[in-house]
Amino acid sequence: METIRILIVDDEIGFTEMVKLNLEDTGRFNVRIENDPTRAFQTALGYRPQLILLDIIMPEMEGPDVLCQLRENEQIAHIPIIFLTATVRKSEVNQESGFISGYPFLAKPCTVEELIEAIDQNL
């Protein structure tokens, strides 16, 4: 079975490594980490992920700006994105039916199960 390519853009190095470990451990995913948001566009262009997990608050460049960059290039504009953020609470995700400006989001910390479920729903 071919693995699903996931790109995670988040400045939190430990967190991204743990996401990679857990997702790849299922055998279903191949995860590329990008801890520098200013390089997210180039990495996405090269790696061609099938889904991007995107942090919102990062130094140098924030998640929504990364999103705008990605949307400007036709080759990668279609890739589904899930925002991952520590600034909202789980209860708010449920209340707002899980979307920020039309994009799905997950509140950190969420369980690996919730993360995989969200990925499956948005592929």
């Binding site: 967190f15 451990d25 520590a86 600034t87 910390p109 369980t111 690996v112």
Partner: protein
């Protein structure tokens, strides 16, 4: 002529000497202005009795009387009746005694034989006006002190609220990392021994607990974001009970409901108020570890000062006579130490830290009640063990009428 001068003044003469008393009555009857209704006594004991029965505007007080001597006479009178104007009238001439009398609450100090009718009447009228000014100043001072306490409270909340959002982001990221790390280890070490499993479970619980503290902090930060509607209070209590049902069962706590019938809806953010109820129920559970009874009362009445235990629970928006709903949560735990009754609302103050308390629940509860112009008041039950948490909501016109909670403009 000033209205005060037209009125008949109620003067009480406290005087040991019959002669001096006659002199005073004579002077007042020949007064150039004013009219006086005079009563007289020669003892402090009878003075207190007279003050119980009738209103007195001003007391002419001799310091040496039947049952009291010297400045002590004034002190005893003033401590029992601080709002009545007192003019000391004594035979002793001592400058420092006069000043002392004024310091201790008298409005003037007259020396027998050193004044005439005009001076006496003037002293009485001036004393009454000085007293009025003093009373209103004292009232204003109390108001200011109360307002200062409220401001300090609000400022504390603001600081915690402002810090909360910043902390949330910084702490949630490492927490997420820890949780994912633990989850990964749990899958890899599935066949591991009990000790490893226990360790991983403890780590996971600790991370979840830290996360719930952050959640509480964020609740502060978003307290201004409330959505009020007309809603039945009983329904909110029941929702709170559903959420805590499991803990109540586990601890062996019996819930007794005494709901008043036909209560009007109140204007609340039902989620926030439910949060207050849940917090109060969880606090009750925490003090009844070996079981007990949680009694919930609801009632409607006209607010009175005696409805609350702690004066600092009072809020500007609820006044005597206002139509209010009262919700009481009574537990059968060991009660609250009197010294902690006010501190208990401070952020991070908790009496059950060892059991996992963070000390934010009640301060959040108070802030939520503040945003609802409501009162939260804690006290110990008088006749039995345990404590009472009382919530008071103002019944507002908008929600009266029928009892449906969606019908609200």
């Amino acid at each position: 002529m000033n209205n005060e001068l037209k009125r008949t003044l109620q003067v009480l003469i406290v005087e040991n000497s019959d002669v001096d008393r006659a002199v005073l009555i004579n002077m007042l009857s020949k007064a150039p202005y004013g009219s006086f209704q005079i009563s007289a006594t020669d003892s402090l004991l009878e003075t207190f009795e007279l003050l119980k029965q009738s209103v007195v505007d001003v007391i002419l007080l001799d310091l040496n009387i039947k049952d009291s001597n010297g400045i002590d006479t004034l002190q005893r009178l003033h401590s029992r009746h601080p709002s009545i104007a007192v003019v000391v009238n004594t035979g002793e001439y001592q400058d420092d005694l006069g000043l002392k009398a004024v310091t201790l609450g008298a409005q003037d100090y007259l020396i027998k034989g050193m004044y005439k009718s005009y001076g006496l009447v003037k002293a009485l009228y001036y004393a009454i006006e000085r007293k009025k000014a003093e009373v209103s100043l004292r009232k204003a001072l109390e108001g200011l002190k109360e307002m200062q306490a409220q401001l300090i409270r609000a400022e504390k909340m603001n600081v915690v609220g402002g810090v909360a959002s910043g902390i949330a982001h910084e702490v949630k990221n490492p927490l997420a990392t820890i949780l994912y790390g633990v989850e990964y280890l749990s899958t890899v070490l599935k066949e591991g021994d009990d000790k490893i499993e226990l360790t991983l479970r403890s780590m996971k619980d600790a991370a979840h607990k830290a996360n719930s503290i952050i959640k509480d902090l964020l609740d502060f930060a978003s307290l201004s974001d409330i959505k009020k509607e007309c809603y039945p209070i009983e329904k909110t209590i029941e929702q709170g009970l559903v959420l805590t049902h499991h803990q109540c069962e586990k601890t062996g706590i019996k819930v007794v409901r005494h709901y008043a019938t036909n209560l009007p809806d109140i204007f609340i953010d039902k989620n926030r108020i439910e949060q207050v109820f849940v917090d109060l129920i969880l606090n009750a559970i925490a003090v009844m570890k070996n079981g007990g009874v949680l009694t919930i009362h609801t009632s409607r009445k006209n607010f009175d000062r005696s409805d609350i235990h702690n004066p600092s629970s009072l809020v500007e928006t609820i006044r005597k006579g206002d139509d209010v709903l009262i919700v009481d949560f009574e537990d059968t735990g060991k009660g609250i130490e009197e010294a902690n009754i006010e501190k208990i609302f401070d952020p991070f103050f908790t009496t059950h830290r060892a059991a996992g308390g963070v000390g934010l629940g009640l301060s959040i509860a108070r802030t939520i009640m503040d945003t609802h112009d409501g009162i939260i008041d804690l006290s110990n039950n008088e006749d039995k063990n345990g404590a009472r948490a009382r919530l008071i909501f103002k019944v507002k016109g908008d929600c009266s009428g029928d009892n449906t909670y969606l019908n609200c403009g």
